[in-house]
Symmetry: D2
């Protein structure tokens, strides 16, 4: 790769947009050449328009970059979309129609039949939907790729090797989700402190549906969903970052308990084989301590891109129980999208 | 009732012991006449020996009370035991053998076949085990009654009306437990803040076992356990007080969703009929908001003795899902024991 | 007092408005007959229009009360104003001109020369400004009384007896303020958790100015401010409620250390002599433990109306150091205003 | 420098010991060859003996290192002491007598007249006390160097340029200190959450005394303390890491407000001139935003070794007010000691 690919971030001043900027400011394959935000911010320096929320400093080479309006005239080939819900759907289509490759963290297109809902470790073959997508929508160069809901990434990565080896029959999952998942300003501190809120709008439906699309098979230009049921309980807890989930799974085929961590350890997904810059090694960190993974201690594993699993034990109602944890704004959002883009580059699916 | 019954608290300086003192200092039926603690504290004033942790002030009439050694020579008829694990077993037996009625918050005797594991709303008939207990152990007047684990109380109260009306076939439960459940000093702040710890020693086993004993039937001087399986995931979250649990339940007989809150609302347990001083009215508070119960907003319902339920929805894996919440050191510990004692008094099972 | 006085709350749905409703719903002297809010809420039931934030339940007799527009046509004699900054100034004047007695928690009129900035324990004689106020503004029956900034109440109550006995020469004060002081939604949880924010807009100026007005003397229809300087450092810390302040004070006249708590204990202010319903007994709780007052343990002292002081020691730069703590939304806001109204009723300054 | 200098950590399993291990595991000048702990841990692998508390992983090359007893027979030239209070005094002397260079984070020897209390940016010339120390104590090669209390480092670094340029006459300082400062298990979570504790044993005395030693002059083999008074208020707040301090200072000579940040920016201390590996550039980060520094956003500045200052404004009681912040277990403990050692190496004061 001789020249870097020019990329932009749509919605660069929000919480997820900032993570994109953090991850792309010094990326070996991508050069961040465009930042967009709402019209109110357009024309200002990024350093002035953005209230930086991360504990790392704003990348120095970004502070002076001008913020653009979010329109498909910005100078770059790929865009990462951190646009808010209602806006994301039409704007992302507009960019794709104009020839941009769109990597979206929004939920708007996740369930479109011709849009890949992608975790590079899990369903890289779903990229074949792009051909259908272009044909159906009349796009020549552009496309839309989505990454899943933050809670769905962690669960799907833990389930993928189990689905391969034993088959999954059903799942009951309970999430304990960090506050950054609600964006900024997000949850008022008076609601968050000393409290558990057992409700996150729309989250339980996403968590029930998205893993089944990602673990499904591409058939006839669409996805045949995996045929198991997921029952989700989603909760907001007073931690800053990191989503921890407890999981009970019924398997199609019997498994000895020790086969579960073995299946996780033996997993050899494509991004790690391709040595993608953002791919964590290993993708699943198997903890053997009785009380791990823990949110604060393990959310940063693999620079926030690894998913940690542990506490495997039998379940008297389904078959097995375990705990899974990941970083919701890195692996669960911006990092997921960057890895999606890296996968396409490595597979020479991006024309530049 | 003309004269108050004299009661004591064993282990009165710890976190649960303090809750006993708070609840008993001004009780209409009981007079708190004895406080015991470890030998190091014996002989001191309670106000000096005790680092008071509650946000209420120490009851003024207690500060000057002398702390006694924990031996069956203290002047009272009933004792409430907040003794720590290892010690509770033999010491409580010693008190019962000496003629004291023992109401224990410890787990030591909970699974003894002849010891009632009691929630007055749920299984008041289990008090009949006392006859067996006395006969088998050769005790004339004394006895031991236990209250359940804090997480088990809430779950069992929510399940009891469902078991009555529909039958329960299996349960997957996930707890998010407050820090006070670990006692004092308990969880170090460096472990607690900004973290979820998905492990509480011994808790998942208690939560799987205790509801089945309480929802079981007394047969031949023992308890025939309820025949359903419980799979528990127990987690410590950074809240001070209150255990919130998400629950999936498979039922024996089909239920329409709206029948679930109806069953809870129609529940008319004995303590409320008997008008026991500590019994909450209603015992189950049914919340209809989409995001309730919440730990901070609902833990104090019924002065910490009511259990709040809500978010009833169908479950794609089992049959129904809901949320249950209770105050772990009141309904889940000291208050539970006080209510047990009130039940026996009201049923004239205490000689004074 | 035969009949209750009819009172209303302006801005009843916000954080401070709710505290007013909580304190007035069952008040011995006042009957809450009117609740107002923004036009968007007007016409709805209070139970529907208000997202209740307090851990107590909404008073049952309030849930069905209709919310009115904030205009001086509501049926009551006195109003308590929890209106937001910009709005409070003109609206409160409008009510006073229309004949209502206005007790305001807003800062708009606190520094008006003819408006009492009142703590009933400290400067009840400042009520004499009402005559000037009415004369100057042409109001016949109406008036405006303000209560101070939340941080200023606690400091001023601790300083008042010292000013009386020794004289105060200068003060350096550092506040550690709870999140509820910022209202709702207020501080985003991502800003609050695991953080100290050493800035609260406008707070340091109020804290420097208001105590000097309250400890000043009424002269010629205005207030001659107390002549000492206050230097304030104001910080937001991650606690829900309660403002804790560390204070260094230089005194006019020498004091032995033990004279300081003695001055606090000997203080006999008017509201306690008049036995006002909301007046705490004692107004200042003097703690003698080395590590008290603490925010969580002491903020509810005197049902949130007492101010706790402690840790008196000498100061090598000024003369003495101590710690002061109070409940910011009770003594620091709604409770302060209610006590102001009680003082006027008891002194027969309210026509009904 | 051709060969690395062999160093050991005394008390390597505690909170500060772990920070030493983190900072030394991959140091360009030092090779970590010995870890000691209490006798109970001696003989075990470090990975087994140590409950790792940091969010970074334990350095992989340390997990298999055997833990030794804390006795002056370990193989290294320099030792970093994270020993607890009572133990540190005699054990550190024993090591120095045996020829080791001791860099101590303990307070035991900080006020010994012949022991440097060192911040390399502030008083590098105090290293000349080592000659006195050796002569007086009869040590040939060994020595003891101490680093200051965590709160004292930040304050002293902010005061040093002001003392140089304007002279300091007096200081009132209020600290808001993170929980890690109390070590592990340290503060119980039930004390920490939703609370401010205005008391840290011994802290206010250290904070009043240590800056005056460090800003003093070496005279006749001892230190003539700086002649200004410091009055300290020390508080524990519920944040994990970082000590934020508000400061009022009276100056000897008048200063315009804008001269204060200029003095900080113009400071050019020795460690930065010598390019020491752990020296932050710049040592003082001057923030210009109205609400910075903030604990969470700024504690990691300069990889935890920089001190952040801001919010300069005039003080009506003393002369100026400002805010200072630093990382208490890096710049305030382990990192401070490592920098002390680097200074001596760079000045060729260590024989190897």
């Amino acid at each position: 790769m001789q020249e870097k690919i020019r990329v932009g971030v749509l919605g660069a001043t929000g919480a997820v947009g900032q993570r994109f900027v953090e991850l792309l400011a010094d990326h070996p394959w991508f050069e961040l050449t465009a930042l967009t935000a709402s019209d109110a911010s357009a024309g200002r320096r990024y350093g002035d328009a953005c209230r930086w929320l991360l504990s790392s400093d704003m990348p120095p080479n970004m502070t002076d970059m001008p913020v653009r309006e979010t329109s498909p005239t910005i100078e770059c080939d790929l865009v990462f979309s951190a646009l808010p819900g209602g806006l994301a759907g039409p704007v992302e289509e507009e960019f794709a129609a104009a020839g941009y490759g769109v990597f979206s963290n929004a939920s708007a297109h996740r369930q479109d039949p011709d849009v890949p809902l992608l975790i590079p470790e899990v369903n890289p073959d779903h990229l074949s939907l792009i051909a259908t997508q272009r044909a159906r929508r009349g796009w020549e160069r552009g496309f839309i790729i989505t990454n899943p809901n933050c809670s769905a990434v962690m669960l799907t990565m833990a389930l993928a090797p189990l689905q391969d080896v034993f088959g999954v029959r059903s799942v009951v999952v309970n999430t304990m989700q960090g506050l950054s998942g609600a964006g900024y300003p997000g949850v008022p501190s008076l609601d968050a402190l000393d409290n558990v809120i057992p409700f996150i709008g729309g989250e339980e439906d996403k968590l029930a549906l998205e893993p089944c699309k990602m673990l499904g098979k591409v058939r006839d230009g669409g996805v045949e969903f995996a045929g198991f049921a997921i029952s989700a309980h989603c909760n907001r807890v007073p931690v800053r970052e990191g989503h921890l989930e407890t999981v009970s799974v019924a398997l199609e085929n019997p498994a000895e308990l020790e086969e579960i961590p073995a299946a996780w350890r033996d997993w050899r997904p494509l991004p790690q084989q391709l040595n993608l810059p953002t791919a964590p090694r290993p993708p699943l960190v198997v903890r053997t301590e009785p009380d791990r993974p823990q949110t604060r201690l393990d959310r940063d594993a693999g620079r926030g891109m690894a998913v940690s699993v542990g506490r495997v034990r039998s379940c008297d109602v389904l078959d097995i129980r375990f705990v899974v944890l990941g970083h919701n704004t890195i692996r669960g959002a911006a990092g997921a999208s960057v890895l999606n883009a890296e996968l396409m580059v490595a597979q020479e699916m991006i024309d530049t």
